[in-house]
Assembly symmetry: D2
């Protein structure tokens, strides 16, 4: 089962700057070989369910290892069985409507 | 790794009434033997990471099998390594402050 | 326009214990006279759109006044125009299916 | 109070294709003159609290007017009082860490 995810990992107890932890998660996604795109409030990821959720678990482990005692993550996740749809397809279908 | 999750599964392409799909997910959590509590906009779940995420994957499979061509799920998930904390502990610590 | 909301306010830069800030938000909702119910990962609220969002803004102001330099909030919000539905109705319709 | 938001509006009861409704929301943000950037699972928006939430309310109104009987929206929203930070700043601070 393919899944498209939007991931936002928030470490607590590490002060206000969370960018080192977000960067560490980007590296986890990179190493996992998952298609991913960061935006200003999270990261879009696409891939097979087990690989994506394996990487998300690894993010929590890595962020705890960096010293964060607590993490709260927000996740959106989409699956569909009617047809294949990539992250780019989703953006493209809206863009086409806006231009027509 | 223990995790506390808030799960909200939304099937698309099945009309406006989603309660049969939500009920099916409750049964999945029940069968998985996971501590869970439904509220008006999702379900709190607590347990070991792999068991919780196994159940969430099973929810998507079951809801697709019921005929939903597309699903969008919102998830919050919390882990902490500084101390154990249950769902009840979280609510209780706020309640105590409100009563004092 | 009536709205049902699930609100989860997370202060950053205040350490790992966020219950005083969550309690302060409960008091804001109380003072606003809004129907609300806390769970282990947020609070369900129902009411008129402007009143609900006025209270959410007030939560951010109060939590900043308590000393939190940064806040990240997750919100789910539902509106419908086909029929009236309360928070209790939503839970009840799933419960009925589970018992039948 | 400045806010950075991640908005994901999901109409229910309109079938599986939601891109016309997402496109309509993009036009609402455009008309509101708000800085915004669409990604594969939502749209980042930045602006003054009241303007941003005025636009989000308008999105719900417009999507209902298009025929959606029910809408469920997921929102992340961040405020900070320690310093100014734009959407671009957030992405940039992570990028810098990844390149160093």
């Amino acid at each position: 089962m393919k899944v498209i995810v939007d991931l936002c990992v928030v470490p607590l107890g590490v002060g206000v700057s969370v960018s080192p932890h977000v960067a560490a998660c980007q590296r986890v996604l990179e190493e996992a070989g998952l298609e991913h795109r960061m935006h200003a409030y999270g990261t879009n990821i696409e891939g097979e369910w087990d690989e994506v959720f394996g990487a998300i678990k690894r993010c929590h482990q890595v962020v705890h290892e960096m010293g964060a005692p607590r993490i709260t993550t927000t996740l959106k996740l989409g699956t569909r069985i009617d047809r294949e749809q990539s992250m780019d397809d989703k953006v493209e279908s809206v863009r086409r409507l806006l231009e027509s």
